[in-house]
Symmetry: C2
Subunit: 223 residues, 2 copies
Amino acid sequence: MKIDVGKKILSANEEYAFKNSKVFVERKVLCLNMISSPGSGKTTILTRTINELKDKIRIGVIEGDVQTDMDAEKIRATGAPAVQIETGGACHLSAAQVNRALGELPVDRLDLIFIENVGNLVCPSAFELGETGKMAVLSVAEGDDKPAKYPAIFARSKALLINKTDLLAGGLIDFDMDRAKADARKLNKEIKIFAISAKTGDGMDKWHEWLKEQIEAVQRGPS
Amino acid sequence: MKIDVGKKILSANEEYAFKNSKVFVERKVLCLNMISSPGSGKTTILTRTINELKDKIRIGVIEGDVQTDMDAEKIRATGAPAVQIETGGACHLSAAQVNRALGELPVDRLDLIFIENVGNLVCPSAFELGETGKMAVLSVAEGDDKPAKYPAIFARSKALLINKTDLLAGGLIDFDMDRAKADARKLNKEIKIFAISAKTGDGMDKWHEWLKEQIEAVQRGPS
């Protein structure tokens, strides 16, 4: 009997994640897997980012929701291609679902694909989709204690967008920006943090610059 | 061979849920399983509710979090007994965890036990803990589309608290209260909805009245 110890047995999800990652590397497309609580503003961030960058960057979106295709409709209104996945109860997207969605996107004509995962700060961080990197979104309305209480996604993200900073102006929300940033950095020294308001556009320029750098890095390929 | 078709095979979670529900029924304690996204204000609702009702109702709390015991500390500061469960990554509380926590609470000296589930609008709704009933919390900052997008918990809840109504005053948040209520009622005709601000106390009186009615119903026993 011959045992092939060199072959790692992959789960079905890992198999599809590997296939997806090959697509992103070979086609030189940046893919960001966006993870947050429900209502942190992911879709608004995406529509504003697409509208502000569409002359420079070709963006496509894979939308994950438990139910409804409202978010894909909002993305399509910007002119960007979007594929909706309804998980029908499941709390995260799977790599197989993303693989099918990629078949419906014009991948060869895109620089950047956002995967908007199901609104859930816990489960999606445990499922690889083959993405180039994960990113987290946290709304100031959720509170500055979330990196400490839900560490996994902050530990695994390349970037963190702290959104809805416009709500801080009214003095109605207690959110200690320094604490949230320090707690996220305690979990992840490399994480890039951008405080933004997708509603007013405040702070979006630095996030866009970072996106452009990430796209350039992917297009250059491995160094 | 004799096959006992009358015996239903329960999952491990259902077994513990059944044990817990026996405790609540026999000791005539109302148990509410509170489910929401991270940062909807569950802990603030609980501390304010306990402080306002502690002369009339004896309340205990089981706190579920992925990590940290910050929430149990906040509850204990009110004088109410609280047990923290850290799930260490899991996205929902299990009935076995609640069963162990009940052993640490003075159940015989309580009228009401709140289970503050892990902040997650998807997974906890699928796991029975033996509670008298589920309830949902939705912050206006999360958006009025959440009942449509995450229907399961709204379909299964006895009550819905729409929290952080104080944020509506500044005009900074677009939240169509009628739409949120109508969508929740479309999923669940019986759901009681209370628009509250746990920060200012606005609307809390009706929620307290409802709690008292629920406790009286449990203390009367099955009719």
